[in-house]
Symmetry: C2
Subunit: 350 residues, 2 copies
Amino acid sequence: MLNTKVKNRHSINMVVVISILFFACALLGSNGSEDLLNQAKQIFGQLPKAMVSEKNPITPEKVKLGKTLFYETRISIDGTVSCSKCHPFSLYAADGLRKAIGNQCKLNPRNSPSILNAADQISAHWIGNRTDVEDQAKQSVIGPPSFGMPSYAEVEKKLKEIKGYAPLFKEAFPADNDPITVDNFAKAVGAFERTLITPSSFDKFLAGDDKALTEQEKGGLKTFIEMGCTACHSGTYIGGQMYQKFGLIEPYEKYTKSEVVDEGRFVVTKNESDKYVFKVPVLRNVARTPPYFHDGSVDDLATAVWIMGKVQLGKDIPKEEIGNIRAFLRSLTGEIPEDALKIPILPSIE
Amino acid sequence: MLNTKVKNRHSINMVVVISILFFACALLGSNGSEDLLNQAKQIFGQLPKAMVSEKNPITPEKVKLGKTLFYETRISIDGTVSCSKCHPFSLYAADGLRKAIGNQCKLNPRNSPSILNAADQISAHWIGNRTDVEDQAKQSVIGPPSFGMPSYAEVEKKLKEIKGYAPLFKEAFPADNDPITVDNFAKAVGAFERTLITPSSFDKFLAGDDKALTEQEKGGLKTFIEMGCTACHSGTYIGGQMYQKFGLIEPYEKYTKSEVVDEGRFVVTKNESDKYVFKVPVLRNVARTPPYFHDGSVDDLATAVWIMGKVQLGKDIPKEEIGNIRAFLRSLTGEIPEDALKIPILPSIE
């Protein structure tokens, strides 16, 4: 009986030792960059089918309503602002401007981030003042430089005035007696956004298709990892999982064309340590969403990569490696879901 | 020989007489409203497959480029204006505003007309200062309250800076050495617009399907004809074929909420007889494109119909008949072509 126990313990120890050895070898192999794919698999991750949330389960009815609301201008103070104004899919759900422009041409404080692959981040937007995509949608409608409505009640009034919304809200929120609320607006828009994932050739590579990336793209990926970019730009979305100071080594405004120095997350927390801290942006589709950085102060991707090397890593990345990294980043340009690209007809007022 | 000639002439005369009698009977029958369908067929017309133009033949390559350019904001002075800004398909290619808002929030002088079923009209827009859809597209890019660009040369420069346009223009205009021109921009956008027809249940009725319209809709159509609305709103597009004074019987501003009195076509011609004259608008999709009139001064369709009765016909149309006409006008709401509803991805700058 005792012998058996000792024997068993011995066997278990052997298994543990072998496992550790195996794991160490695997780590050594990948750390040595011998297996770019395995390394990439550890750092990044393939896209899910949708960015699910227990708080806001995705249903087809919610997505349908959310997609419709995404185009709704008639609930903004001047009738010109919808979600799609700053996030048009024709430009990969960013707007191509340095800083977003809202109702009555009001300038927003920061660059409009793409809402593609955006719903699994640490927070929405740049400085952590919107907890998730639902919170972002909700805050937008009363945001003075976005939809500019004076109150949630006024938004709900406008939604109710558009007669065609009643059945759509009822279908999306069948358990609610009075479903036309801003909270449900936010849930519907959020549910739609949670479907917006854009698989790219990089995902095919991560799935094991070695030919999905060109040699230059693989070279860029290798440099991206070795240079230390992945210290922040990691995970499924290649970013979006942490806050970080922009300008760790040198002040960013030394190289960007920033007109003002943005204090970033400090604006929210008032902690000195949060000065110039921003959310690390998702890099999926980055090649198609210029201009770059929180203030859109840089027009082209190569310059943006070079500046990141200077101010975050203290490195003057050589031109050839910039080109390779740029090629890798272009492999993150994905396919927008077909249904999202189909324009919904907005409900009739009468 | 002579006899034969006389005989032949006699036969021809008989045919002419019979034809005239037959035609007169047909006219009498329809004028007596016994056959609403035949009457409607004489006044209106079914939509063609596309609104062709000898000056600008439609090709798939031109349409593809034109649809892309339709969403292009990066060629406007502030990066916010594209054709789709004032003509979003989500709102049946009008914008829901009283007057269109262009770059830097500049107010346009008049309401944005839908560009659906718009390419076969006497002219584009309201007062005859744009000959056709191509001319409208061309003038827009340098229009101070629309795209606001300083010159055609600057537009062409911006188009050339977006690297992804070169192959698209080449495919659409293969015979041109330097295809990226504003004229070709206008032709491409025009070719796209020439495909935008929206068949509705009214077209099914015109094609002979008596059940395509409800009894109320048919009643509205009958009233619409008998009341005299078709004196101006006739043809395939139920309007768009002539200019007419707005306020034939009484000044329109007596009933609308117009802030200023627009002199209409007089602005273009300086002829006294053109004062308050506007193009008769196309009524297809009218139920889905409020607010109404050249200045968007009226919010709802029933009021717009009642005002038309007062100021154009000198009639106080009873409420029930307003309801019927409104029902008929709703039968003009059509299906937007599926391809037009698919958002194009704009070409990359780099």
